[in-house]
Structure formats: structure tokens, C-alpha cells
């Protein structure tokens, strides 16, 4: 079998007294769309925050494409090709789309010691292209992200991850607070990822959304993985009964 693109081995995490992860071992193969479900406080976000570099595990190992990975910051995660889209949005509302697409990874015309002049034309052109590539149609890259609808924002976030050729995309409740129509759009984006060979981990409380776009289901409860099956071999009823 292939080496998994991400593997976690016996991850533990404590938050001052709270044992949030109690030995999570998980393998995600390249190209999979994994649906991660679980009740509030099950530890889903904690697991994801560790993979995306916001937190660090107290014990356990992470392997990316078979190699041990020490993920200390979001930059480390991005360098390894892991990009995360959060439930509370990873965009700055009062900045333009093109600036948001390139936040932290701005193309520069020239620079001294990492600080330099932005290549704004390139930012504009490439963000237009990136957004069109995920089948999102926006008027201008100069519009403020705050003027977009929730679904469009998630679309831009996904376009950003695609532009930077991320291999694994983690989406933590990207459909929260979205209308039915907007949710359908976001699910469409996630399905599009699979078509382009991007591995994804999709977190949601809505089983229907998860089953609509994932080919494998992982359920967590109280900091542990309690179910891990191909979506075809399980059902909403079975998963719901476990949580």
C-alpha cells in the first residue's frame, strides 16, 4: 500500500487539566476525502489545530508522506502542504480579495531581509485566476472580502489553498452559519478538490454534508477515534448512534 499522506500516532493533548486528545492514531491516504465528525468537545478542532500548527501535541508523532514532521507554526504546516480553512474564516474582512489570497505569502518585486515591495499586478492577476479555477465568479479582486457572502469567502479561502498547491486541505466546519444555497456551494468546492486530487479532511456536525462529499468517515468522541470506515460501509444512522 502507499504511504499515507498524513499519519498521526498516539497523539495526546492536554489543556490545563482537560485531556482533549487521548491517543489519536489516524492515517489519511492521498486523494481521500475524510469526513471527521463528533459531538461538541470531541477534540476535532484540537486535532486539526495540531496538524495546522496552531497548537503542538503533548505527546505522539505526526508523519507527512512517511516522514516525521515537527509542526511548530502555521508556516511549517503550509510548507508541508497542509492548509486549513476555519469555521471562523481565515480572511481579513477589511482587506481586498487579492491581498487576502496572498496574506503571509506575498509576491515581491524586490526585498531586503524578507521585507519588500508587493507585486500588486501579479497578486491581482493570479487571484482572479485562482478564483476562476474553483469556479467562483467575482467581479473584481479589489473588492473587500467583507463584502462577500459567507460561501463566497470560503470559496476564496479554498482558491487560495489551491493556488498554493496545498496537498491536504482541512476544513473545520466551513458550512457553519451558511444558508442552504451557500452550503451547497461550499460542498461543491469540496467535491471539486477530490476531482483535482487534493486530499481533504472535512469537519461538520451535519452528517448529510459529510456523507455528500466524503469517501471515508472518522468519528471522534471524548478525545478518541471511535469509528473509521469507508463511507460506503457505514451509514448516517450507525455514525449518529455512536456519538
Amino acid at each position: 500500500m502507499n504511504t499515507p499522506i498524513i499519519e498521526t500516532r498516539d497523539l495526546h493533548k492536554w489543556y490545563s487539566g482537560v485531556h482533549a486528545l487521548k491517543g489519536v492514531s489516524l492515517k489519511v491516504d492521498s486523494g481521500e476525502a475524510v469526513g471527521l465528525v463528533g459531538d461538541n468537545g470531541a477534540g476535532k478542532s484540537t486535532l486539526i489545530n495540531i496538524l495546522s500548527g496552531l497548537h503542538h501535541q503533548d505527546s505522539g508523532d505526526i508523519l507527512v508522506e512517511g516522514k516525521p514532521a515537527d509542526i511548530r507554526s502555521p508556516r511549517d504546516a503550509m510548507r508541508l502542504g497542509i492548509e486549513t480553512i476555519y469555521q471562523y474564516n481565515s480572511m481579513v474582512p477589511l482587506m481586498t480579495i487579492s491581498r487576502n489570497v496572498f496574506i503571509g505569502r506575498e509576491p515581491l518585486k524586490w526585498s531586503i531581509g524578507g521585507i519588500g515591495i508587493l507585486d500588486e499586478r501579479k497578486m491581482r492577476e493570479e487571484s482572479v485566476k485562482a478564483i476562476a479555477d474553483v469556479d467562483l465568479h467575482l467581479r473584481s479582486p479589489d473588492a473587500l472580502v467583507g463584502e462577500l457572502s459567507g460561501g463566497q469567502r470560503q470559496g476564496v479561502a479554498i482558491a487560495r489553498a489551491m493556488h498554493f498547491k496545498s496537498k491536504v486541505m482541512i476544513l473545520d466546519e466551513p458550512t457553519n452559519h451558511l444558508s442552504v444555497k451557500e452550503t451547497a456551494k461550499v460542498i461543491g468546492f469540496v467535491k471539486g478538490l477530490k476531482a483535482q486530487g487534493v486530499t481533504s479532511i472535512f469537519i461538520s456536525h451535519n452528517m448529510h454534508h459529510v456523507f455528500a462529499c466524503c469517501n471515508r468517515i472518522v468519528a471522534m468522541a471524548l478525545g478518541k477515534v471511535v469509528l473509521d470506515k469507508p463511507a460506503a460501509d457505514t451509514s448516517i444512522e450507525e455514525v449518529s448512534a455512536l456519538l
Partner: protein
């Protein structure tokens, strides 16, 4: 109307610029031409770069989402340090370098304490306001150091650059620095990080921006500009007093806010802070020249600040309402 609102929303400094124009005309009329007379403009252009430089630094820092209340004290501490060293026999440029370095250290401390202990910068820099002021008095040794005119090359900073003796070098320094900071904010990746950090901290850190370092850098720039401005003022007056710059911190915040900078970060522009600073100076000076009781000065600045914040909030609400309309 809609287009106007939208424009005003994107460029809140525009309204202030308009107000500025109106006030200049008004004061010119009320003062019967004294306001724009050569003598008055000379005095005005002497003081302006000093307060405006402080406002520029404070504006940048506020956009990154933090405050600095210690700028007024740093404004006094830097020239005092420099003067004490010069009197002690140090070369002028070495003394200037040490003074500016001290400002950078203070800015670093302000930022580091704020970030490391996760406390409001309002509190950190309030503490620094007292400490830096106290240090200034202590190192002055109770009586101000004296530097003979001509002993130091102060003309580089405050000498007149034109024949008529209207514009001082400080105006040029100030313009150059303001352009530089403005470009830093609008054209560089660092500026992008400043806006992102102040605009929505969780997103900025999730995207890998070193938000702590960005804020500390802004604190340092702010402090160094305040110290530099204080040095210019002291050299211009050729006196080194431990009391200068008192109350300046709040005027700088007022200037930033009047120019459209948000109190919670993420929004604002250097040119806005600049216009705010000019407005404050115009009101101060214009009232004196028009022989209005100058005790009304603080009242006017206060009212204008509140008006600016209310106005900006109104514009933002209008903007949001407009967005809903276009959604349909």
C-alpha cells in the same frame, strides 16, 4: 449619493481634508489675513512636523491594533538623553544615535510586554508614560542642560532651507519620513501584515504572519518617530526641557482618529493621520489668530474627535446597508 458614501467609506480622510480646507478659509477671513501671513505660516510650519511625526507613528501602531500613550514622554526623553550626552562631551551624532536607540528599546519593551503577558497596550504604555517622564527628569539632574547655539549642527534638522526663511529642514525630514511610512504601509508585505494583524488577528496568525513581531516593530517605529520629533523640537527651540510633549499622546490619538483610523485596528492611513494632525494644528493656531479664547481649543479637538468617530461609524453602517441592497 451612494457613490459618495462609498467613496467616503473607502477614504475617510477625505472628509477631514475637506473640513481642513473650510477651516483654513474661515480662519483666514476671521483673522483678517493674519492666518496665512508669512510670519504665522513660519511658526505653523515649525511646530507642525513635530506633532505630525508623532501622529504618523501612532497611526501606524493603531492600524496594527495597539496604542502608545508613552509617545509624549519619549518625545522629552530622547532630546534630554542626547543633550546630557553632548554636555558630557559626546560627539553629536553618537548622542543622537544613543537617543534614538533608547527610543527603540522603549518601543521594544512596550511591545514585548504587551505581547508576552497579553495585556492591553493601553496599560503597558501608560506605565511607560510615567517611567519615561521620570527618567527624563532624573537624567536632567533637576536643571536643563545647555548647549550653545552653533555647538551642534542643528541646522541639518531645523535650519531654514529657503531664502525667505519660511521652510525648515524639519519639514523636509517630515515629508520624507511620512512618504516612507506611507509606502511601507501600502506597498510592502510588511504593510499587508500590519493591516491583517490589526484587521483580524486570528486570521493573520492562522495564515502564518508573525503578528507579535509585526506589532513590536510598529511599537518601535512609533517610539523612534516620537523621539526624533522631540529632538527636532528641542533643537528648534534650542532648549532641553523635561516637560515637553505632555498631553501629546492623546492629541496624536485624536489626530489618527480624526483622519479615519479605527480604534480597534485594521483601518486607517498615514495620510489620514497626517491630515488629522494638520487639522489640530490649524484649529489651535487659527483660534489664536482669530482671537478666539484659546481655552476653547481642547473643547474643539474633543468635539471633533467624537464627531469623527461617530461619522466613521455612521459611514460603516451605511456601507453595510448598501451591501445588502446590492445583494438582491
Amino acid at each position: 449619493m451612494r457613490r459618495l458614501v462609498k467613496l467616503a467609506m473607502q477614504k475617510p480622510e477625505l472628509a477631514s481634508a475637506m473640513l481642513l480646507l473650510v477651516l483654513v478659509v474661515l480662519f483666514q477671513i476671521r483673522s483678517e489675513g493674519v492666518f496665512l501671513s508669512v510670519n504665522n505660516v513660519r511658526g505653523f510650519l515649525g511646530l507642525l512636523p513635530e506633532t505630525a511625526l508623532v501622529a504618523v507613528g501612532v497611526t501606524l501602531l493603531m492600524i496594527s491594533g495597539e496604542f502608545d500613550l508613552s509617545v509624549g514622554s519619549v518625545f522629552a526623553l530622547m532630546p534630554m538623553t542626547m543633550a546630557v550626552l553632548v554636555v558630557a562631551g559626546w560627539p553629536f551624532w553618537a548622542a543622537v544615535a544613543v537617543g534614538l536607540m533608547l527610543c527603540a528599546v522603549i518601543g521594544f519593551l512596550n511591545g514585548w510586554l504587551t505581547i508576552r503577558f497579553d495585556i492591553p497596550s493601553f496599560i503597558t504604555t501608560l506605565g511607560m508614560l510615567f517611567m519615561a517622564r521620570s527618567l527624563t527628569v532624573v537624567i536632567s539632574g533637576g536643571f536643563p542642560p545647555r548647549i550653545k547655539p552653533g555647538e551642534v549642527p542643528s541646522w541639518i534638522f531645523v535650519g531654514f532651507v529657503d531664502e525667505g526663511g519660511l521652510i525648515r529642514a524639519s519639514v523636509l525630514w517630515f515629508i520624507a519620513i511620512a512618504i516612507l511610512i506611507s509606502l511601507l504601509l501600502s506597498r510592502t508585505n510588511f504593510g499587508n501584515w500590519v493591516r491583517a494583524t490589526g484587521g483580524f488577528l486570528p486570521a493573520a496568525s492562522a495564515m502564518g504572519i508573525p503578528t507579535g513581531k509585526v506589532k513590536i516593530a510598529c511599537f518601535m517605529i512609533c517610539s523612534v518617530l516620537a523621539g526624533f520629533a522631540g529632538m527636532i523640537q528641542s533643537l528648534r527651540l534650542n532648549s532641553f526641557l523635561p516637560s515637553i510633549g505632555e498631553g501629546m499622546e492623546l492629541q496624536a490619538v485624536a489626530a489618527a482618529v480624526i483622519g479615519g483610523t479605527s480604534l480597534v485596528g485594521g483601518v486607517g492611513s498615514i495620510i489620514g493621520g497626517l491630515i488629522g494632525a494638520i487639522l489640530i494644528r490649524v484649529i489651535d493656531n487659527g483660534m489664536v489668530m482669530s482671537q478666539i479664547d484659546s481655552n476653547w481649543f481642547k473643547f474643539a479637538i474633543g468635539a471633533l474627535t467624537i464627531f469623527a468617530v461617530v461619522g466613521n461609524a455612521w459611514l460603516r453602517r451605511r456601507g453595510r446597508a448598501m451591501k445588502v441592497e446590492t445583494d438582491k
